[in-house]
């Protein structure tokens, strides 16, 4: 396992270096942040001074090597808009996003596996039809619309939940619920399909012939084999949330890294863009390693 982890770390490090180079130059192609930071009527002198203060008057290649030099010392630079270290702003947002992803995907995984497995057990039955109907709606529902409707219904009309923000457990209910819907719909479909294959396999028929109970057939014999593709999809969906649940963060006022990233792109806050992408990329690398380990745990044939 250790050699495998070492190889993955080296490959990820190379990818990360490529990402830094690409994002550094692509973000600079969007233009100069001076025009966005200073008022429209700022004099040329004020603009020149701003560029000098932030090193934007230097040749691009010099800016790049200066940035890399700082990065080696784990200095991600300062945010122009926030006047604080870029990494501080990113980590503050990333913690919120990480929690949001962890809670949502834990609930999604449990619910989708149970519902998908039960739907697969009686294909075409009432439960299967209901589960398929709602999971297809969930997989295709626009989360922006759901979020606004949920606020109007549960906060303004019924007064059950806070509209937005953070602070109490109640504040998490609607953001998690809205984020839950799409991956739940998708993963239910994947679990169902995968379980149908598993339940039709020879060893399950043998188990049934031997009189093994349904619950044991589903959750002990079939599920373990059906989980491999499901884990892949769970990984993809978790990655999507880690990359930023922008809509949910924007509507519910969640101070996550997705909204920070979008704001930073619009404001040309280059150091924050780079720090956010590197932190997210590192987290996704760790997630992928975890998924690889899970493959090995679930399937004894997979060894690294």
């Amino acid at each position: 396992m250790l050699p495998f982890l070492g190889k993955r770390a080296v490959a990820s490090a190379i990818s990360l270096v490529g990402l830094v180079i690409l994002v550094f130059f692509l973000s600079r192609l969007t233009g100069d942040p001076t025009d966005l930071f200073l008022p429209e009527n700022a004099t040329q002198e004020a603009r020149d001074n701003f560029r000098r203060l932030h090193g934007l008057d230097q040749p691009l290649i010099y800016q790049f090597f200066h940035y890399v030099g700082d990065l080696v010392r784990l200095d991600f630079g300062d945010s122009v808009r926030r006047a604080e270290p870029a990494i501080d702003a990113v980590m503050r947002g990333f913690v919120w996003t990480l929690w949001l992803a962890a809670i949502t995907m834990s609930l999604v995984t449990v619910a989708a596996v149970v519902v998908g497995s039960l739907a697969a057990f009686h294909v075409g039955g009432f439960f299967d039809r209901v589960a398929t109907f709602f999971s297809l709606i969930g997989a295709s529902a626009p989360d922006f619309w759901i979020a606004i409707v949920a606020i109007v219904l549960f906060s303004v009309n019924l007064g059950w939940l806070p509209t937005s923000g953070t602070g109490t457990a109640w504040h998490w209910v609607m953001p998690v619920a809205v984020l839950f819907i799409r991956p739940f719909g998708l993963i239910v479909q994947v679990v169902r399909g995968s379980m149908i294959n598993a339940l039709n396999s020879a060893y399950v028929k043998t188990a049934r012939a031997k009189g093994v109970k349904d619950r044991k057939i589903i959750f002990t014999h079939s599920l373990r084999n059906a989980l491999l593709p499901v884990i892949t999809v769970i990984g993809d969906q978790t990655t999507a949330i880690l990359n930023g649940a922008v809509v949910v963060e924007t509507i519910f006022g969640f101070p996550g890294v997705g909204k920070l990233m979008i704001d930073s792109i619009l404001q040309r806050d280059f150091n924050v863009i780079l720090a956010a992408i590197m932190v997210t990329a590192f987290a996704i690398f760790l997630l992928n390693v975890l998924i690889d380990i899970l493959y090995a745990v679930l399937d004894p044939r997979i060894r690294y």
Binding site: D35, N41, G165
Partner: protein, 499 residues
């Protein structure tokens, strides 16, 4: 009284006190999270709504309807040669207990012009002006502007005063000011809390504490007030202002116009510029894609500005006259068939795209060869601000200009002088009119600005002036608070009362 009754009485008293305390707290839902919170950046609208006159006070204060009023300065006098003497209020302390004196004002002025930080107040209001100070005594300061600024006391209404010791090369992250409120906490991404300053020199505000939260979606901000989670949402979209018991509109000091490039044909011909003006059915926008209450504009600044020329009338919608003017220009060899590029700014105001598409349709209807391009702010600025690209096509740039400061001087040089950053005109007579009006005071100043507006509107046909915009705020029924033109840039907690 028995012990039980005593306990009951105490409990009731505590409940009463608690509910009273709750009633004096307010929550305000802002549209953007604050980035830098230094008072020298408080001309940014969202920071201004938190800091301006709440945490940090200005030297003077511009009050809608009342004009320039004392704030930290109680008097001012023109000493000549660009120097003004300001007498400061005595007995004022910062929230850390230190006393306000002239050295603090001198330091604040130095700081907004510091090269080591980019303070927006300095860049926005004092570009090209050198300010020097001389402390006369603890409560008297001479401020000299080079070139001389006849409206220096008005310009001082933009200067927030900080302590003498605040760094010249770094922004502060905990603002300390002399205002009626004290900065308590900023949980980034979540909220800002302020509470009443017990040692404030002025009247004690009814509000005892305030919490600012950040929600970028207008519908959510409006819902927060409807659900009782917030008391004021100062800037909501037209489509979310659906409850007349809570929502009100106010002139928000923004003027929307089309800046014409007088340097390129066919826009260099006055008949073409007139045709553009006659082609627009301005009234058709109001109450449809723009809010009811939107005013038709004839000048760059809102009607509350001094020198606003009330005698000017918007160009009427007359497509036939527009066609005639174009035909006359064409007959004289003006290349009216040249493709004109109309440039809009994405997200500049609510329904900007619909507005631009409607304008395009009106221009094409009278015979203009025109295309619309919508840009993000940075790319838009490349077309809006000098230096303009060489060999550019004839361009019309849509812009929204904010002047809540009561005087055209904050607008006219930048928008119309030959050296102005966003000017589409270079006219010698106009330059001298702007320079003359800038140097006058009182009624003469007002008259000169008025004359200047008329010259631009009728003689030069400088732009296609469109609308003075209105903003919408949602205010909880438990508050007695009416948004004004200043709500676009500040929100004084001291002006909030409870019903």
């Amino acid at each position: 009284m028995t012990p039980k009754l005593t306990k009951l009485g105490a409990a009731l008293l505590a409940t009463t006190i608690a509910s009273t305390a709750y009633a004096e707290e307010v929550t305000i839902a802002l549209s953007e999270e604050l980035d830098i919170v230094d008072p020298c950046e408080s001309s940014r609208s969202n920071l201004g709504r938190v800091i301006l006159q709440n945490i940090s006070e200005t030297v003077t204060e511009l009050v809608p309807g009342s004009g320039l009023q004392p704030r930290l300065a109680t008097s001012w006098e023109d000493k000549g040669n660009g120097t003004w003497r300001f007498g400061l209020r005595e007995g004022v302390t910062f929230s850390d207990g230190s006393a306000l004196d002239a050295a603090d004002v001198a330091h604040s002025i130095t700081r907004i012009q510091s090269d080591a930080i980019s303070c927006e107040i300095g860049a926005k209001f004092f570009g090209g002006i050198e300010l020097t100070t001389e402390v006369v005594d603890d409560h008297t300061i001479d401020i000299t502007a080079n070139p001389a600024q006849p409206i220096l006391p008005l310009l001082m209404s933009t200067v927030t005063v900080v302590r003498d010791g605040e760094p010249l090369d770094a922004y502060v992250d905990t603002p300390i000011g002399t205002g009626p409120f004290v900065w308590d906490e900023y949980a980034r991404g979540q909220h800002i809390k302020v509470s009443a300053n017990e040692n404030y020199w002025g009247d004690t505000p009814a509000v005892t504490s305030a919490t600012y939260v950040f929600r970028s979606d207008s519908a959510v901000r409006a819902a927060m007030v409807a659900a009782g989670e917030a008391d004021i949402a100062p800037n909501i979209a037209l489509q979310d202002a659906t409850d007349s018991s809570m929502d009100s509109s106010y002139p928000n000091s923004e003027t929307v116009y089309l800046r014409l490039d007088h340097a390129t044909a066919p826009l260099d011909d006055v008949r073409v510029r007139q045709a553009l003006n006659y082609a627009v059915d301005r009234e058709a926008f109001v109450g449809t894609i723009l809010a009811d209450g939107t005013l038709l504009a004839t000048g760059m600044t809102p009607p509350s500005t001094i020198g606003y020329n009330k005698d000017l009338a918007p160009y009427p919608y007359d497509p036939d006259k527009a066609r005639e003017l174009l035909a006359a220009a064409k007959a004289d060899g003006v290349p009216v068939d040249t493709k004109i590029v109309m440039i809009g700014r994405i997200g500049n105001f609510g329904n900007v795209l619909e507005t631009m598409e409607a304008l395009l349709s009106m221009f094409q209807d009278v015979g203009f060869n025109m295309e619309l391009q919508m840009f993000e702010v940075a790319e838009w600025l490349e077309h809006y601000s000098n230096p303009f690209a060489e060999g550019r096509p004839p361009e019309i740039v849509e812009a929204q200009h904010d002047n809540a400061n009561g005087d055209p001087v904050f607008s006219m040089f930048f928008k119309y002088a030959c050296e102005g950053l966003q000017t589409g005109i270079c006219d010698e007579k106009l330059d001298s009119m702007i320079a003359e009006a800038t140097g006058l005071t009182g009624a003469d100043r007002e008259a000169k600005w008025s004359e200047t507006f008329k010259y631009i509107h009728e003689d030069l046909v400088g732009d296609v002036m469109l609308f003075h915009m209105v903003g919408f705020s949602r205010v909880s029924p438990r508050l007695d608070f009416t948004p004004t033109i200043r709500t676009n840039s500040e929100l004084q907690l001291g002006q909030i009362k409870f019903n």
